[in-house]
Amino acid sequence: MGVPGVGAMKRVLVVLLVLLAVATLVLAQGIGRATVRTPNGDREVMTIQQRGETLLAADETIAAFGGRITAEGEGFRIALGAMEAIFGPDSRFAVVRDDLIEMAQEPVVIEGRAFLPSGFFRELIPRASGLDVTWDPASRLLLARPRTREVLSAQVSVVDLQGTTKIVIQFSGAAEHTITRTGTSYLIQLRNTVRAPFAEQAYDNPRVSRITFRDGEIGIHLRGAAVAGDAYELQNPFRIVLDLKEAPEGSPAYRPQLRTEPRFQQTLPGVRTIVLDPGHGGKEVGAIGPNGLMEKDATLAICRKLAAVLSSRLGLRVILTRNEDEAITLEQRTALANHYKADLFLSVHLNAAVMKGARGAETYFLSVEASDELARSAAERENLTPSGSRSRAGSDLNLILWELAQQEYLKESSRFAEIVQEEMNRALGIENRGVKQAPFKVLIGATMPAALVEVGFITNPDEEAKLLDEGFQGTIASTLASAIERYKTEYDVRMGVGGARVAAPAPAGAGDPAAAEPERTSGR
């Protein structure tokens, strides 16, 4: 074998130097090992250190729990039992169904392998298994142990309203459970130990005869097989809710339900307080017209004028979500209306479109899917304070009434939006873009009829010029006041309050738009 030439040797040297450089780069990540300890045994996994955080090799760690990870586009998909999670290299958020897990830092991908912060596994594994996970940085141990379940206490309420029996079982903590139907009973099997409030309780209810607590199982015994149920969970506090209704028409035991008196009357005796919401404010300027008009300024001017008209003409208590140029979150606006127990909520905006020539007014109320989702998480939203903090959730009965009222709010919101749009069309002679539904954030969570009006397109130079004009702003305010008066009249008559001009006591300061500003003690 001859001596290699100098050129060949140089090439070998270059390759070796490149290899050295790669190896040095990899070592610079602080590669190490950690142990994943599961009930099935120990597994060594590769780790890297980054910004003081230990990141574990996702493939080896997930494999220790019997799962697998696959690359998908630029991201990765984890399959662990029936659960799937997805994450990408640039985001601290992993998607688990429609929920998110926030990581301490972005995943690192080296040679096609993903490394994730230990906290991710602490969050993920319990969602897919009955294991709790802890990370000990000193011993570099990710320890997964069977979850120790706390002993829970439970309370039961059964309420029959509007053709539906709602059974609410409230626990002192999250209860792992499965629900099955056998004959004329629903059985809730609990993995936690539960202190039973009773062994057996009989109910004078058209659908439920009795409820039993026995050996980690709650039995809900129905009066007949023709009762169908819909079960779901509510959080904070944890509740299992079962809605029972008669089975659909066609079943032998079907019995149509008669509606009782309007339940809306229980919560809204008449329109007395209205919250006006001038859209945007502060740094959030909203849309900007071709000649510089800012949405936040025009909406505030219109709402101030409207507040003055409503106070003087209708004697309503008027509250503005903002009475100056300031930023308020959308949640705070709705929460303010809830806090003041407003009977009506109107958010005023100016529209914008990329299409030239867009013109006209349109009015929105909340879309159904947003409302449905809202009802499901009612417990988290009720009693929201203006600062956005949560106070103690109300009683189960309040929750049930709240959910049912949401459906009524939607109907009333639809009617209110319809009247606002009709008045805008009639008085302003601008193009009718109709009443629509959308999942507008500011309307979500309002516990009163609520609408959002777009009084014109700021992106249209003609409409922008009008909207800049104080006289036109006054006309809009007067038109919206007429709409509110019409809705109030209609609503008050329907509720038997006595008509639009029923003397609603005007609070001190009402009549002066400046004085219409509410007291705000927090969240500002």
């Binding site: 050295l20 169904r97 859209g279």
Partner: protein, 178 residues
């Protein structure tokens, strides 16, 4: 020459020592999916002159893998209509950072770009059109019913102060021309 050989031998020993620091492991489970490409006619939703969304068909070379095709379709939507008279719905600097297909008809689209990051000053109509152009485009081309939009990998309340995107969006009949 012997000195060169000695140098090579020393470097090989060095590499071997470094390699020994890393425990031998089986070939990683992380294997890139084969991205078989296929031509596919897709529908992209843009705004029509009557201010409603209408579909525009476009022939694209896309990965046969649906999940991998998702972000490319979103990127195509962000490019705007082939008709230059039709304005873009999203801000021009909007980018798709990732798009993920989830079980049960759910998708997550992660958007980025300076305008969405700094705060998009626009009206509810434009915001509705933009959000629903994404939802309808994905539901028309994939088995997707609900779309969750993130900005810079994070959940946000709205894109421009109106439409709630802190929850998944469903297709909207009000937004599309019938």
């Amino acid at each position: 020459m012997p000195s060169t050989r000695a140098l090579v031998a020393a470097m090989l020993a060095c590499i071997a020592a470094i390699s020994a620091c890393r425990k031998e492991r089986a070939v990683s489970d992380v294997v890139a999916l084969a991205n078989k490409v296929e031509s596919r006619t897709i529908q992209l939703f843009f705004e029509s002159p009557d201010l409603l969304l209408v579909p525009e068909t476009r022939l694209l070379s896309l990965p046969a893998n649906q999940a991998a095709a998702l972000s490319q379709v979103v990127a195509e939507l962000l490019k705007g209509s082939a008709n230059t008279a039709v304005p873009r719905l999203f801000p021009e600097d909007t980018v798709v950072r990732g798009a993920y297909l989830l079980p049960e008809g759910n998708a997550v689209v992660d958007l980025g770009g300076q305008t969405l990051t700094d705060g998009w000053n626009t009206g509810s109509h434009t915001e509705l059109m933009a959000a629903y152009s994404l939802v309808h485009t994905l539901s028309a081309n994939f088995e997707i019913r609900r779309v969750r939009i993130l900005v810079n990998g994070q959940p946000v309340a709205t894109l421009a102060g109106h439409v709630a995107i802190d929850r998944p969006l469903l297709p909207s009949g009000d937004a599309v021309k019938r």
